[in-house]
Symmetry: C3
Subunit: 343 residues, 3 copies
């Protein structure tokens, strides 16, 4: 369930009205008058929630899901558990996006809005915490003790920041729960909406991003780095991580403890890094990967597959380091040969 500190839900809706909103058809014989209270991912959805199946990676999650209602492609009706009420669409992600937008019509706001004070009167600010000039702190925000909030930083409504954390100049933090002794450097953007949209015949439809960013204790996040909030589940950064400048971390990414992410790395949505993974500068990861504990990845690599714990990798596409050294040596020798139209 989206955190009510950040997201205001309306509803409930009947399955029939969700069908109208989304254009998805109620499966034959299924109950149109069933009441639905909220959206939820397959893993956590309950009997009064609506979920969706789009990416076949989630077929096994579907088979054990308790979701009362699910939006899916008509060809997948057979794999749904018996108790589910089905909404059928050729474009289930788009249909779901419209449903989520109906439950959360104000989702995807940008900025703390609502009020015109720099520090909202309902914000709670701990002892010996210093708030610098120009900082804007939203409604209901809870900031611990002995924190430093830098000049012109923006802490959105409902955000929680633990004791002894330092937020740099011009940082923005929204839709996030930040641990203790965290340091966030100037201009980092924590909790913006992830890159989520469904494409239909009239263009791209934005999918409400209803998750949060959770940052563990003693983690440091570099200047101008961006960490998007989750789409339904949360984006999670473990404890004691070191994230450098200008890094991009997509929605639903999970980083274990003690990970080291060098500058300009990009991690696509839903990829998971276990503890103590070390990533060199400018590396890119595609989405939905699992990278095992202690993996080390050389600068500028492109990671397109799951990687087991403990290895060293390099190259784009990334391969084991030894293999990449061979590739590089072969390329060097190719480059030294004469070619017909070369140089």
């Amino acid at each position: 369930m989206p955190d009510p500190r950040f997201f205001r839900r309306v509803g409930p809706f009947t399955v029939g009205s969700l069908s109208e909103i989304s254009g998805a058809a109620v499966a034959e014989g299924h109950a149109s008058d069933k009441l639905v209270n909220d959206v939820a991912p397959l893993e956590s959805a309950g009997a009064d929630n609506v979920s969706f199946l789009d990416n076949p990676l989630y077929l096994s999650a579907l088979s054990v899901s308790s979701a009362g209602v699910c939006v899916m492609h008509p060809e997948r009706v057979n794999v749904a558990p018996d108790q589910m009420t089905l909404l059928l669409s050729e474009n289930p992600y788009l249909a779901y996006a419209k449903i989520a937008a109906a439950f959360y019509p104000e989702a995807n706001p940008v900025g703390s809005g609502e009020d015109n004070s720099f520090i909202h009167p309902t914000a709670s600010i701990g002892q010996d915490t210093h708030v610098s000039p120009g900082a804007v702190i939203g409604a209901g925000t809870e900031i611990g003790s002995q924190c430093e909030i830098g000049p012109n930083a923006v802490i959105g409504p409902g955000v929680v920041i633990g004791d002894g954390s330092v937020i740099g100049p011009s940082v923005s933090v929204q839709y996030s729960i930040i641990g203790s002794q965290v340091r966030i450097f100037a201009g980092a953007r924590i909790g913006e909406a992830g890159f989520g949209f469904a494409t239909g015949s009239d263009g791209h439809f934005t999918v409400p991003q209803l998750g949060r960013v959770l940052v563990g204790d003693k983690t440091e996040i570099g200047a101008n780095t961006t960490i998007d909030r989750g789409s339904a589940a949360d984006t999670v950064i473990g404890q004691g991580c070191r994230i450098d400048n200008l890094v991009q971390i997509g929605h639903n990414v999970i980083l274990g403890n003690g990970c080291i992410i060098v500058s300009q790395v990009g991690i696509s949505g839903s990829t998971q890094l276990e503890d103590y993974v070390v990533v060199g500068g400018q590396v890119g990861f595609t989405g939905h990967l699992k990278i095992g504990q202690g993996v080390q990845i050389a600068a500028q690599s492109g990671v397109m597959n799951d990687l087991p714990a403990g290895g060293k990798y390099s190259g784009s596409p990334a391969v084991p380091m030894r293999q990449w050294l061979n590739q590089a040596a072969m390329l060097r020798s190719l480059g030294k040969k004469k070619v017909k139209k070369g140089g």
Copy 2:
């Protein structure tokens, strides 16, 4: 003509004084006392404008140009239309840069300047638009109705923003015309000066950047992304585009409608993407390219050539996807061979 909302011109100048300012010589027999009112690109220059030719890509534009005056290399005198008054220089771009700086001595200002109020009294702000604390709105700015201007955002003088648009925390927008229902996420930088300079014997001379950024309706621009304004023409972003975080878009780039640009992509100056082009993360484009409608480019590719509509490409340099898959397979097999000094 540079938009007078953003750029204040002085002048006119005679061809003779432009010669003195720039160090370019008046071509033999050409009129030194001709009056020049403004700078303009070859395509749109009129009889009282001065333009320049540097990159040979623009030779055909020269041949049909109505520019009254043109700065060029002495070797290219023969290709100029008869009516043009010519200013000749070994370094025509540098000479032009000095002329443009004479016409626009205050160009390349940074910041809204002039005034000390957060919201300038001449700014117009539409109904039901909310301006958050710390936001700075410049002189003559026009913001539509039902907009949200986030905390500590900076909207420069003369900027226009359409109805229902949302500007995130700490965003800056300058020299730009923004459509309706546009969303710009935290820390994005819209309308900064492009990377333009001419190099002479005493170093790099900044070329005034006299264009704007135009953003179409319903486009979304990610956190900490940078979109530079045009140098003479405009930088144009179409309708319904989705641009992710930490993307760089150079001056004079043109994006069609519905383009999808994943995070950390860099698009160099004057490159054009037609409608519905999809670009994976960390891709780079060199300048002055034309990428056809619906082209899809895989993550980390390096695009160095024009691409016809509809294909899929990958690699650096980018090649058709099937060819890249072959390259990758060959590289993998090379990496598995023993080499003399490998790993």
Copy 3:
């Protein structure tokens, strides 16, 4: 010696107490009661300073160092000059980090802190300098004449900015000395802490970053670019450089005069570029390199070795341009061959 404008030192400490603080053992027969006043790099340390040796690149610096005390691995005792008092640790960088944190317990603050005025009363602001709304200027800051400080910019305590410089909207500058006629575009982050930490058995320990950023006259720095301050020595950017948007420059990097750095380049710590080096977009450099005068590096290259003056390079790993053109031609021809499991 760290600049007292930016860093407040405590102490002195005896060698014995530094041993307790750091866990490093006093070498047998060495004096525990010797007084130490400060930390310093091997090159500049004096008789009352403590330095450290970790990276073997610095062995020759050790051999000629005047440091009174040095933290090092027990295996390297033999290479230390006779006058040095040695503190021995299996993890000398971690031991040094703890010592530096003892001397500078408030190091690594983020934000200007201390005061609640937008412009600190002790800041000095030159004639005809305009400070825009929302700008925050710290204690003891010195800003020259005819400068423009953009809306919501943050100039930290002790920073010096020369005449005629322009600081864009939402820029932050800390721990820095900025020359004259410098232009820094919106959202750039100058002087944040570098990516420095020592890893021990309980995770990563942040190493105080005690250097500055020095920026030469007439240099321009692009939007959302990040330049970290030095760790012990300074990060130095020469005169007349052009640095584009979203560039990352690590701690202790040295750029000569007139360098051109295109957008999204990343330069790792302690790498040096001599004058007039030209770097294409998205290039990455590993740390501790020396790149000779006038070298030109093509976009997306990965530079892993020192490069002599004047050449052109491309590829990842970067090789001479002619060789890379051959590699690219060979790859293209490989891609056109049939392979068993290709595409």
